[in-house]
């Protein structure tokens, strides 16, 4: 039995990093991720971890130093938010392409401009095609659990891909919540010792990373990355099951909440899924068969499982906390609808872009989505595929 505590999301993540005790952490503070770096640097100063903590002058350097440490054979981590992730951009792609198992908590925050410190998913959604695995967390407990599992997923020999563990800025990062921590030795046994098979400091087996790779082999390397993402699906499930045995909290690609007998459903990621659960409970009391699918794994996108779960519903609403400017809705919507396309019995799907720049989302907003969804289910058609929830037009 773990220890029941009250921590903010950032404290929970920093505590997971303390238990992981990475060889190297290189990080630069940015709101709302700052606490993670602050707490972790006190663990370093107090000798609670053996980590080499590298204070860098920017996020580009943070990601570069983390990449360098990981390429040298270390277990390396960093953390960021928003414009910090944007500044890392070049190296984010290189880390994935080097197949380095870096784990990076991303505390989701809107991108500038206008400048805004609050939550939306535009930062990590922008990195959705960078080759990183992405896990999203509903609360501090899931952020903690996801960071620990991310190590195992990233370092698996069939995967070797970096992982972003996303949690909602302020809503989760700065909110004190109840959670259960695992004992240090259990976490250490779960993640095991890291031994890289291919690393630059292996002088007996010299190798090159980042060599020039033109039309002769570049394509094959990208194909291998895509294959690693396919392999990640099995590993994510295996690790989620094993973590369940350890903690009593099993993880999959998504959580189904009152979904099995639902007629209409919502698909959402992050903290809003928790608020949506309260909305579902209220609607169920009124006899409305509302259900919820909380997506945890956005990369790889579990399209087969989503298709199997959502086909047969009368109507589905997606909530996107990011704008893609495609004029066809947010990233979750376009991918989900693409997964359902051509499937017999596929429900009509509507997108609600919401909560940009931290705009509050209440139970009543989500109930409105379900009521709108009832109308769509009755008619079988959409008024418009994309709605901007609660925005002043």
């Amino acid at each position: 039995m773990g220890k029941r505590v009250a921590l903010t999301g950032n404290e929970a993540i920093a505590f997971a990093m303390r238990q992981i005790d990475p060889d190297v952490v290189a990080a630069y503070p940015i709101t709302p991720q700052t606490d993670i770096v602050q707490y972790f640097s006190s663990f370093v100063a107090d000798g609670e971890v053996k980590t080499e903590f590298v204070t860098v002058e920017s996020e580009h350097s943070a990601m570069s130093a983390t990449l360098g440490a990981s390429a040298a054979g270390c277990r390396a981590m960093t953390a960021t938010s928003s414009n910090g992730l944007a500044l890392m951009w070049e190296v984010v792609y290189i880390t994935a392409s080097f197949r380095l198992p870096v784990v990076m908590p991303v505390v989701n925050r809107a991108l500038s401009a206008p400048i805004n410190i609050h939550c939306d998913h535009s930062d990590s959604m922008g990195a959705r095609d960078s080759g990183w695995i992405q896990l999203y967390s509903e609360n501090a407990q899931e952020a903690y659990d996801n960071v620990i599992q991310a190590l195992r997923i990233a370092e698996h020999a069939d995967v070797r891909l970096p992982v972003m563990v996303c949690s909602d800025g302020f809503i989760i990062s700065h909110s004190m919540q109840n959670l259960e921590l695992l004992e240090d030795e259990k976490v250490k046994a779960f993640i095991g010792e890291y031994k890289s098979d291919y690393y630059l400091l292996d002088v007996d087996n010299p190798l090159t990373m980042g060599a020039l790779d033109l039309y002769d082999f570049y394509f094959e390397h990208k194909r291998q990355q895509a294959e690693a993402m396919v392999n990640a699906k099995r590993v994510i499930l295996d690790v989620g099951k094993e973590f369940g045995l350890l903690s009593g909290r099993e993880y999959g690609f998504f959580e189904k909440y009152r979904l099995d007998d639902a007629e209409i459903a919502l698909v959402v990621m992050g903290s809003t899924a928790g608020t949506a659960k309260a909305a579902v409970n209220q609607l169920r009391e009124q006899g409305i068969r509302a259900g919820l699918l909380k997506l945890r794994v956005f990369r790889p996108f579990p399209h087969e499982e989503l298709k199997a779960t959502l086909s047969g519903l009368k109507a589905v609403a997606v909530m996107d906390r990011a704008e893609s400017f495609s004029t066809l809705g947010g990233p979750l919507f376009t991918e989900l609808r693409s997964a359902l396309y051509g499937e017999p019995g596929a429900p009509p799907v509507v997108d609600h872009i919401y909560g940009l720049g931290g705009r509050d989302i209440g139970v009543e907003d989500i109930i409105w989505i379900y009521e709108d969804l009832q109308g769509i289910a009755e008619k079988g058609t959409l008024r418009a595929p994309v709605n901007y929830l609660g925005v002043r037009e």
């Binding site: 009250a6 410190i117 302020f170 809503i171 909110s175 903290s271 659960k277 209440g362």
Partner: protein
Amino acid sequence: MARLVEIRWHGRGGQGVKTAALLLAEAVAAAGKFIQGFPEYGPERMGAPVLAFNRISDEPITIHSHVKEPGVVVVMDPTLIGSVDVTEGLPEDGVIVINTSESPQKIRGKLGLCGRKVYTVDASQIALGTLGQAIPNTPMMGALIRATGLIGFDRFMDLVQGLLAEKFKSKPEVIKGNLQAIERAYQEVTGE
């Protein structure tokens, strides 16, 4: 206790509003409650009006939206009255606890408030006497516990003592003053 209690804290930057909300959350969590504690983040600076919130329940809390209709409001700085609508969303059976030297009756008149329960305590004066500075956040916790009965006072004091001992390892001299401040505010708060 009701199934879910929502609390809104009003104060000014530097008065320890966030600390109070988080400390309360931590203490009642240690007593087995389900909790949330979070400040509102905006353009804070010393002296500017700030907010913090709690949710406290006997059941797990999944809602992550703002608190719009708090059953309990705590006002750490009486000069906010008139410039900030401290009673906004306070329901008919709501409770408001205010740091002021004035009586509940007088404050009720100032707020133009009918119904609801109004409690007052001179937390700044208590803090001056016990801590040597007018930081009213810990005494207001004592007044809040008295006004709401969230958890038993002795249990609360035990838990807060443990938490303060942890937080102030490097300056243990402030622990005693804070505990005295909480106790005095608990004793001195009056309501109608």
